[in-house]
């Protein structure tokens, strides 16, 4: 892969993306249009996140990629390999060791630090898109802070179901100004966005948008005063490490439909097991 520049993109393109990132950091939650490049992986498979990572990676970085919280899912493997090949950076599966973490659909359980950057892959950056399909109209709604429609949707949820029926990609308001889509993370992860010490960058390749949350920024999940936001998860401990505080995947384990619950954050779960924590179905029940 010597024919390609460090981290694949040419320096001109990286500068353009860095400018978009800086603009995004300066206007938290605002979607900055950028000239997304055609990447050697399909649109919708993380091209936005990959371009952001490519623009910020330096040879000294340690890179981690997760998809659904796990380092070993196929697309995470594919993206990690891409950067191993094109940037030659060190990679890790440990959240604590990584300086740049690219993620799809999760925020790691281990709290992040000021020395880390979290890069989200975003499919549809526009939180108003499914209420109003026109980009020209949604951009106007953002610039005029016309967010009434967003609350109409939440109102409808409560009137029909008794509570807000959005379980992932739950919209947030950033620093009291822009309504933002946090990417399809479960709403369990929303509180981690708030006042995070790490820089959080969001890249949407196909939709040509970058947005950002600078460190220690106020991120509030939309709700009503009398129906406050609630982060939720499966009401179980992890069956492998016993964690009570982590987001769980449900896995069907036999033909009878029995299931087990395991941490979606594979590094978190493995680290706890290494420390001797055990769950209901841990392999070596001594």
């Amino acid at each position: 892969m010597n024919d390609y520049n460090f981290a694949y993109l040419d320096e001109q393109t990286k500068r353009m993306i860095r400018r978009a990132i800086l603009k995004g950091l300066a206007i938290p939650g605002y979607q900055v249009p950028f000239a997304s490049r055609e990447m050697p992986m399909p649109y919708g498979w993380g091209t936005g996140g990959v371009q952001v990572s490519a623009a910020i990676l330096t040879p000294g970085d340690t890179f981690k990629v997760i998809d659904q919280g796990a380092d070993d899912t196929t697309n995470a493997v594919s993206i990690r390999k891409f950067f191993e090949r094109t940037a030659g950076v060190a990679t890790t599966e440990h959240t604590g060791e990584a300086t740049v973490i690219q993620t799809r659909h999760r925020i790691p359980e281990t709290p992040l630090t000021e020395d880390q950057i979290l890069v989200f892959q975003v499919p549809i950056p526009e939180p108003l898109r499914f209420l109003e399909p026109r980009e020209s109209e949604t951009r106007k709604m953002h610039s005029l802070e016309e967010y009434g429609l967003m609350h109409v949707k939440l109102y409808e949820d409560i009137s029909r179901h008794g509570h807000i029926a959005t379980s992932y990609a739950y919209p947030v308001r950033v620093e009291g100004r822009y309504v933002m889509d946090p990417s399809p993370i479960p709403k369990f992860d929303n509180p981690k966005l708030d006042r995070s010490p790490a820089i959080q960058l969001f890249g949407a390749g196909r939709e040509q948008r970058i947005y950002a949350i600078p460190p220690y920024t106020r991120v509030v999940s939309l709700d009503f005063e009398d129906h406050p936001f609630e982060a939720s998860k499966a009401d179980h401990p992890c069956d492998l490490c016993g964690a009570e505080d982590s987001y769980l995947d449900e896995v069907i384990i036999d033909d009878a439909g029995n299931r087990m619950f395991v941490c979606s954050d594979s590094d978190y779960c493995a680290s706890r097991q290494a420390q001797g924590h055990r769950g209901r179905l841990s392999p070596e029940v001594a």
């Binding site: 106007k140 005029l144 009434g148 109409v152 109102y155 009137s159």
Partner: protein, 262 residues
């Protein structure tokens, strides 16, 4: 009359003109609307009355002319040259627009409560219980059973849909209401009930309104003053009773007599 009390008209329109590819939509329309006043605009279809309403409400960009609205914060402002954000702000606060077809003015896939609550949420209401209480109250005021608050408008009759649209528009207490054939497409008995309701709301809330209709019975009941339009121009204007009882222009005479024949 109100005219004597208020120093500034609520709306001051001068030389408003809108054409479509050389064809006149409406031409050189000028009038004042005073606070608390209801102005009726009548004419046959194609007379330009809907174009006029669209140009007044900012839905159509006029070719020429001024539409000066007495804003709360800054006094009289020309809404034609106003920036779009300002115009949209007006449209969701001080102005309201009742469409002929309730489908154009309602969100058909949102419940009745959500429809009424939208304008409240748009101006910052964030307490579900309060929003719902206000919506319930308004459903009652437009004679819709509050038990139907969670039903979608598709399940409503035409008359109910129109009343819901009115509630949705009036919930934030607008100062100027544009109405485009508000009783059009409804059965005669349903029309009478709606008109009665509108008349009550206009009186109770002291609303200013511009009502476009081809139906002289509507203006007779609602409007203080009347403008008669033909081929995009105003051919006669005056107090409603005067114009209807003693029409001067041949076209108005024809309109009035055709109603009498019915």
């Amino acid at each position: 009359m109100m005219k004597d009390d208020a120093q500034t008209p609520l709306l001051r329109v001068r030389g408003l003109t809108k054409t479509y590819g050389g064809r006149i939509g409406c031409a050189d329309i000028s009038f004042d609307l005073w606070p608390g006043e209801v102005l009726g605009v009548v004419g046959e279809s194609g007379s330009g009355k809907s174009t006029l309403l669209g140009a007044l409400a900012g839905h159509l960009a006029p070719d020429r002319g001024e539409v000066i609205f007495d804003t709360r914060a800054e006094g009289p402002r020309d809404t034609v040259t106003m920036s779009e954000p300002e115009r949209r702000m007006l449209a969701r606060t001080d102005w309201a627009f009742v469409h002929q077809n309730p489908r154009d003015g309602l969100r058909m896939n949102v419940s009745a409560g959500g429809n009424v609550g939208e304008r409240l949420m748009a101006v910052g209401a964030r307490h579900y219980g309060n929003i719902r209480a206000t919506a319930t109250d308004w459903l009652g005021r437009v004679e819709i059973d509050p038990a139907r608050i969670d039903d979608r408008p598709q399940a409503f009759s035409g008359g109910m849909q129109q009343r819901l649209q009115i509630a949705r528009n009036l919930v934030t207490g607008p100062r100027l209401v544009f109405m485009d054939e508000p009783t059009g497409g409804l059965d005669v008995s349903v029309q009478a009930r709606l008109l009665d309701l509108l008349r009550g709301l206009v009186r109770d809330m002291g609303l200013s309104a511009i009502v476009v209709t081809h139906d002289l019975a509507v203006v007779r009941l609602l409007a203080d003053r009347l403008m008669v339009m033909k081929s995009g121009r105003v051919v006669e204007a005056g107090l409603t009773d005067q114009v209807l009882d003693d029409p001067q222009h041949a076209y108005t005479q024809l309109l009035v007599s055709s109603v009498l024949q019915v």
